[in-house]
Assembly symmetry: D2
Homo-oligomer: 139 residues x 4
């Protein structure tokens, strides 16, 4: 059950082309949902993933842990939640869950660890830290 406030939430519905021949959403597609939610979160705090890329700053996923609890099917409504923590100086941890709507059934829970690269090297991005300061607490 989803029972607390999250740093960010985004509503979606399953599109048929996201389902595979088992008739359920393909596992890879959930990564798209999670990524899109992270990028919309970034926008909500004034950061743009593609604009950052063009400035040489790439936010990249370094580790991903997903527990798939229950599959989504054609037409299902769902919400993706996001909570952000910082781990050490370089790593951001996104805790992301998906819940079906309106039943609030847990579909998956994910832990997505990201870091910033500047021209390919891990860096502390003050720009991102400043924008996300409100949310960041060391895990």
């Amino acid at each position: 059950m989803k029972d607390k406030k999250h740093h960010f939430e985004l509503d979606f519905s399953v599109r048929d082309y996201e389902c595979d021949l088992q008739g359920i959403v393909n596992n890879a597609e959930y990564l798209h949902y999670l990524e899109h939610t992270r990028h919309e979160f970034l926008k909500s705090i004034g950061l743009d993933f593609f604009a950052l890329h063009k400035q040489g700053i790439d936010a990249v996923v370094t580790r991903l842990e997903i527990d798939y609890k229950f599959p989504l099917k054609s037409g299902d409504l769902f919400v993706v939640t996001l909570d952000l923590k910082k781990k050490g100086r370089l790593r951001y941890i996104f805790i992301q869950n998906i819940y079906s709507q309106p039943e609030q059934r847990e579909i998956l829970c994910a832990r997505v660890i990201c870091t910033c690269l500047y021209n390919g090297r891990p860096v502390v991005s003050e720009k991102i830290d400043r924008a996300a300061a409100h949310f960041l607490a060391n895990e």
Copy 2:
């Protein structure tokens, strides 16, 4: 039936994630097959799509016509063929067909019209015309 030599051919097999909930390859996926074949053709004549992009030259599709004849299913083997013509100074026409293997059943036939943009404007790319000279005949 495939009965003549083509400018280029590329072999594929259907991957399960490319199939949708009808149990057949999703219509959009065929565009990926056609695009990948065009890009491999470019490589075969010494051109690289991404390298061109980084030089400001983008080959873009301006019109697409596809007749879907018969669907591909999980595990099917197939070949994508490519023949190239030029139309006027600015347009390239790729005639592309997909045939199942080894039955040679026609899966689809496509006519893909492309043009080159240099920093967003249609241009004659001498680089591409030179590389493709062997294949180009006005339609």
Copy 3:
């Protein structure tokens, strides 16, 4: 310019994962947008694509014509429009356009010809004809 009422319209925004290394929406992705809009239109008239499939009725695309006018980029808002005609007894023609929002710039126009298969054979689906009766006029 979009200047008339359509049978159906659906709003979207570009998600970053739909863009390719040219920094614009990949050509295949537009087919997803068009398909999703058709399926939502079907729902709006009481038909469900996946439910139909499970009853042995598959609506399939037999021909596609797309004119790509202008590319969508990361974060762009757009609307997909849909108008339906019937051609002869067996074919449905979907006229679909994409316009950027709020500028109403024409992104692409498409003509998508579909037919119904019942266990693999083209059929007149009275179910679909009845549901769509309000929209159908011979081209």
Copy 4:
């Protein structure tokens, strides 16, 4: 470095449409590579994912752990490796790695936990256990 024999290996090359606007393979796409390799492994031991689905047996991923080490780019060649273990009666663990070719640079390592569902309930699939007997050792 890849320095031992694996239960199964499959060669791939990056297709341009798999790259996103950072110019590298999108994170979700790696799940497609991993899944396709598992399905081809199943075929190599006489099992077909889609045929199993049609018999009511679905192999589903319940947990996924991925460490992304280095990104793949347009045109890169790579191999996906697979090693299989069983954990308890119900869970299969696939250890999967991706290495660039021919440099053998480690791209990612993944641990994919799967189970079998029969009409939606976790079951011991004797069919799968028998086919995979040669590879299975408790972790």
